[in-house]
């Protein structure tokens, strides 16, 4: 065991939220060390610049941690959802799509609305300024003036090209009289901050050229320039606490040398994502007096459709998201359920091979004599539609540690269980019917729906959103952190990643996760001296 010097702040995880926190606190002149279990992903390590990029996306770049064999991953099991993440500097943003919509004010007030979810301890208005600030740091694109959302200033760069797929979809939405709007993206439509504008390649699972904001390229350079220290291949095994209940630092393994190191710190920030954070807290035996660590896992209700139209819409080109539809975003109980959902419309598969092997709906090209005719009719003619809704929390949907199986470091293997509830099922039925309506309104000659259930009926959603597992609240009995992300039990430990989200909203969460992390980091910066001695966490 090697003892390391004491730092002002220790950040665990270098993904979206670890990057932002490290940057803010290093820029304030604090001595910050970030520990990341993975390494840097070099530009030519991404699949994008290899001729076999589509194959790599299904194999070594498969975002499902249980379906690839990567040395930077910890062991994980699931009996249901597909846990999607990437473990490296920049975290899951190395593989994400950067669809960039914001939460709505009502997402923070579900307790008032129907009481089946908690109110957040903060409101939309608390987060709104941080959305703007994150957008300015990353560079985003989009169009202002959406009547379905609170007003906002212009995005740093204008909207991405309005593709033929977007045009086709807009006609379908118009026919139905439903809302639609060009998709916001964590992608720059013009050169920004030394990074080049998007070139419409369509391969949006990460983006080595840097047009999409992967945080290793947009945020980490700023953090390092400010003097932050980043230790890669450093897997934290345990967060250490003292007799007063305060965190004293962390024990971690240098995965290159095998050395075990203990680093002391005045403040510990956990940013290991909706799985990695509960895994670490449970393995450390801290922060869980509420028994809520790992529970209330949210993924969103998710179903999808793939449609094919006669016109050539060339969905293989252009940024992955085309338009968003917010017609059903608010609760209307006459539909038979609470909460709402969004349409996240994409372009299509960028690869003919992916199209032939069942992209999105699982509909595969036939083999044999009809193969080429099928492809001629369908490649360039397909559009993908997701419906994504606000799922209700259930403590039994959770991330937990296996009672017997351990990994190479002696840490229990992390497991995931997720099952939609009654409200979620009703919502997904309704969503599938509306996807069918939309496909018909677009004049599709084929509409294939996907409910993500396997042959045994198990819902195996692609879980690119893993949130809620250390939720924030104003009651220590039902939440893990307060409105400033401060652990109720360990007053100098802050959880800043996606696990703190108390509700899922109807959208991709990273704009909100990032805005919250920026807000939390600035709170820590502004209260650093007090936090180095505080022994009690108060409601925010």
């Amino acid at each position: 065991m090697t003892a390391d010097k004491e730092r002002d702040v220790l950040v665990i995880g270098s993904g979206a939220t670890g990057a932002l926190s490290t940057m803010v606190l290093a820029q304030a002149g604090l001595d910050v060390l970030c520990l990341e279990q993975g390494g840097w992903v070099e530009k030519n390590e991404f699949a994008h610049t290899h001729t076999n990029w589509a194959w790599q996306r299904a194999t070594n770049w498969n975002p499902d941690i249980t379906r690839r064999d990567h040395p930077d991953d910890y062991m994980m099991g699931t009996d249901s959802s597909q846990p999607l993440m990437w473990n490296a500097v920049g975290g899951s943003t190395n593989a994400y799509g950067a669809i960039w919509p914001r939460y709505r004010p009502s997402d923070f007030r579900k307790g008032d609305e129907h009481g089946m979810q908690p109110n957040w301890p903060i409101a939309y208005e608390d987060v709104a300024p941080f959305y703007e600030r994150v957008d300015a740091i990353l560079g985003t694109s989009g169009l202002t003036g959406d009547p379905a959302m609170p007003p906002r200033p212009e995005c740093p760069t204008g909207p991405l090209p309005f593709t033929k797929a977007a045009k086709k979809l807009s006609e379908g939405f118009d026919k139905l009289g439903w809302h639609w709007w060009p998709a916001e993206a964590g992608v720059i439509s013009e050169d920004y901050d030394g990074r080049p504008a998007c070139n419409n390649c369509g391969l949006c699972n990460g983006c080595p050229r840097g047009s999409m904001s992967i945080y290793s390229q947009s945020v980490w350079p700023k953090a390092l320039e400010a003097g932050a220290e980043l230790q890669t291949h450093a897997r934290v095994l345990k967060i250490l606490t003292g007799p007063d209940g305060r965190a004293t630092g962390a024990r971690w393994k240098n995965r290159v040398t095998g050395e075990i190191v203990e680093t002391k710190a005045k403040i510990v920030i956990v940013a290991a994502n909706g799985v990695g954070t509960p895994r670490l807290l449970l393995a450390s035996g801290i922060g869980n007096s509420s028994d809520m660590v790992g529970r209330n896992l949210l993924h969103h209700t998710l179903v999808s459709a793939q449609i094919w139209v006669d016109e050539q819409v060339d969905g293989q080109m252009g940024y992955v998201a085309s338009v968003l539809g917010r017609e059903f975003a608010e609760t209307d109980t006459s539909r038979g359920f609470v909460n709402g959902f969004n349409f996240n419309c994409t372009t299509s598969a960028p690869s003919a091979g992916e199209m032939a092997t069942g992209w999105m709906s699982g509909t595969k090209a036939p083999w044999g004599k009809d193969h080429h005719t099928w492809m001629e009719k369908r490649f360039g003619h397909s559009i993908g539609l997701f419906a994504i809704g606000d799922d209700l929390p259930n403590p039994e949907n959770r991330v937990y540690l296996d009672p017997t199986e351990t990994d190479e470091d002696g840490i229990p293997v992390v497991k995931m269980h997720y099952e939609p509830g009654e409200n979620d099922k009703r919502m997904m039925n309704y969503m599938l019917d509306r996807l069918q309506d939309l496909g018909e309104a677009c004049g599709a000659f084929d509409i294939q729906l996907n409910d993500y259930r396997d042959a045994d009926g198990v819902y195996r959603t692609p879980a690119w959103h893993m949130i809620g597992t250390c939720r924030m609240g104003d009651d220590p009995a039902t939440s893990v952190v307060n409105g400033w992300h401060q652990s109720w039990d360990v007053p100098n430990m802050f959880i800043v990643d996606g696990s703190v989200l108390a509700t899922g909203g109807v959208v991709n969460p990273t704009p909100t996760i990032s805005a919250l992390a920026l807000r939390a980091a600035e709170y820590i910066r502004d209260n650093f001296v007090d936090l180095t001695t505080t022994e009690r966490t108060l409601a925010a």
Binding site: S106, E113, F162, C201, E330, F337, A352, L432
Partner: protein, 179 residues
């Protein structure tokens, strides 16, 4: 050499023509499209099979192809198709993997990519490197004018009536595609 070794040797000896013939049943040529074997789909297929499933997968493939009569010498076209269909029915998992891997290898071939592009669907071998040209967003003509959509401001979020939902008592058994 044991009898078993001799049998293995014979199977492996005909593996190359067998995989090529199998690939050509999956992806026959015609109407300007090259067949799978013409552009060498069988080579990445076999490499990837081993990468994903280990070296023993090669022998298993040889045995499977032998069972369906590959390389199909002397069989008429319909009989070849029937032979591949029998593999699809009897070994769906293995067949599915081989079909998908063959499709992927075919469409990553620079020759096929170029043909797709030449036929009028813009398509590149390395789109991320050179990108696709798309016109910039035109605010004058492409900004939505529908004026639809609403949100509830924080101070107007009000209780909704959930009394008719009966979420605890009325259960949805048929959901998803079974609804």
């Amino acid at each position: 050499m044991t009898l078993q070794d001799a049998k293995k040797g014979a199977l492996l000896a005909k593996l190359a023509p067998s995989v090529a013939a199998f690939v050509d049943e999956l992806l026959p040529g015609g109407d300007g499209w090259p067949s799978g074997a013409t552009i060498g789909v069988q080579f990445p297929l076999v490499e990837r099979l081993i990468e994903q499933n280990g070296e023993q997968a090669l022998m298993a493939l040889a045995e499977t192809l032998d069972r369906i009569g590959a390389p199909f010498d002397g069989m008429d076209p319909d009989a070849r198709v029937e032979a591949v269909k029998s593999m699809e029915a009897n070994e769906p998992a293995r067949f599915g993997w081989l079909r998908d891997a063959a499709f992927q290898a075919y469409y990553e071939s620079p020759i096929v990519v170029t043909l797709i592009d030449a036929a009028g669907t813009p398509y590149k071998i390395l789109p991320h490197v050179s990108g696709y040209d798309l016109p910039r967003f035109d605010r004058a003509t492409q900004t939505p004018r529908h004026n639809r959509g609403r949100y509830i401001p924080t101070d107007q979020v009000a209780p909704v009536d959930t009394s008719g939902l009966n979420l605890d008592t009325v259960k949805t058994d048929k959901w998803g595609l079974q609804r």
